[in-house]
Amino acid sequence: MSLYAVEVEDLHLRIKGVEILRGVTLRVRRNTLFVLMGPSGSGKSTFLRTLNRLIDFVDGVELSGLVKVLGQDIYSVDPYDLRRRVVLVSQEPNPFPHMTIYDNVALPARLNKIVRTKRELDDLVRWALEKVMLWEEVKDRLKSYPHALSGGQRQRLCLARALAAKPEILLLDEPTANIDPVNTIKIEESLKSLRDEVTVIMVTHMPHQAVRVADHVALLHSGVIVEEGPAMEVFMSPKKEVTNEFLRGAL
């Protein structure tokens, strides 16, 4: 088994002829909380969507370079299988509105045949909701629908849904961009507690968030990785002026 969850080498990606990623090279170790920082428009979402091939649904994408996820070239494996192992949580909370809170969390587990009995499923749903600190808030209304939840709760529900799918890599695209500080802290705490179970790659444009949670960080700027390393090193003594500016909030 490869030491790395993700290995990317000289990834170039164009959408309709516009180069968005211009030679990204990056490795992410297994079971770390990796934060990819970068100002808006630097290509973070695009990069994240490449890792589990969600980018395949975008028209006019051309790609070159090597992307290995969990030891395999992503273009040599079945994309649906890849996405079951590498699950993405989007920036906007998107729970399934026609399903109860319980069913939202249970669906991917059912589809991926992670559990065999109803009992195991109940346990898994509870585990996932506890992980995101939502269990206490919803345990009495598992049969109600997500529209009854606040934005932050919905986002945590989406995170629980992703966890219940038992992914090997969890991709998070600015999961706290649109929610309040209390929910943000809860999500960050959940992420820290997941370190040993799953590789987390989170994207953010806010340096403070990276400071709070990251083991390892990289800065993406204009489609290239300008700096990368253990979180403490990068925050304490950035090697590049661009990084300094980004951390000061000047980008």
Partner: protein, 284 residues
């Protein structure tokens, strides 16, 4: 500046008046038709009561009005059979075309549906007559249903495609992000989210089939002496009965036609209301 403001206001007023007048021109005949149907048909229904729905039609010279049972049963069954045939086809086509808009098969689907929707329904009736009716040796409920199915297909298809196109991109992404393939996303997410629009489409297609006359002219037959004779036997339909009876010279037939018209309107309104009220929408 001031002048141009006022002239724009004046133009605005004129446009509003024109729009109101045009809508009035459109709505007036509609309201007057409904009014007449309610007035004349209502009289018939009050006189006969529920028997109008369960009795056989009158003979020309009888004084009684009788009922429209063969037509009602024929219409209910033929429309149901028609949408039973079209729904799976329209559903799969609509799904395929919205998922793969660029595939050549999608273009073929679009062209075929457009061609279908352009064919006059009387031609469809002739076509089914020369194939199904000729080879079976009789007009039948089945032949009528097939003709209705061909005529309804484009409507069902359009309802379904517009439903599928309305799936929020965020939900598509949610399904795909969890590793669902398109079929799983369809079954577990899209159908649930779209249940209201899909069911409305279904009911509207049913209503559509229920009200159509021309496809049935050469295919359905005109069953009068029994309520139902079998799927492979002649049947009847409400609009067909209205058409034939309204053109007849007999006064009591005219009254049956008005009664049947009102029944048709009521069924239409009922199905429309059902689709709006019973099917709860999904709160996003």
């Amino acid at each position: 500046m001031y002048r141009s403001m006022t002239s724009r206001k004046v133009r605005n007023y004129i446009m509003v008046i024109v729009m109101v007048a045009v809508s009035f021109l459109y709505v007036t005949p509609l309201i007057s038709i409904i009014y007449t149907a309610v007035e004349r048909g209502g009289a018939v229904l009050v006189e006969t009561g529920l028997k109008f729905l369960t009795d056989l039609p009158p003979t020309p010279l009888s004084t009684s009005v009788g009922g429209i049972a063969p037509a009602l049963i024929g219409s209910l069954l033929a429309s149901a059979l028609a949408i039973l045939i079209t729904t799976p086809i329209a559903f799969l086509m609509a799904f395929y075309v919205t998922e793969f808009p660029r595939h050549s098969l999608s273009r073929v689907c679009e062209v075929v549906v457009r061609a279908f929707s352009g064919v006059p329904s009387i031609v469809v009736s002739m076509f089914i007559y020369s194939t199904v009716v000729m080879s079976m040796g009789t007009q039948s409920l089945l032949a009528g249903s097939l003709a209705l199915a061909i005529v309804t297909l484009p409507y069902t298809y359009v309802y379904f495609t517009s439903a599928f196109r309305s799936i929020p991109e965020s939900l598509r992404e949610a399904a795909m992000s969890l590793g669902m393939n398109r079929v799983r996303a369809l079954i577990h997410v899209y159908v649930g989210v779209l249940r209201r629009s899909l069911l409305t489409g279904l009911l509207m297609s049913y209503v559509r089939a229920f009200g159509d006359t021309a496809p049935l002219l050469f295919t359905m037959g005109f069953l009068m002496n029994a309520v139902f004779a079998g799927v492979l036997q002649q049947s009847n339909a409400v609009p067909l009965m209205i058409f034939v009876y309204a053109l007849s010279p007999y006064e009591n037939f005219h009254r049956v036609a008005w009664g049947a018209t009102l029944v048709l309107l009521i069924i239409y309104l009922a199905l429309f209301t059902v689709s709006r009220v019973l099917v709860r929408g999904v709160k996003l």
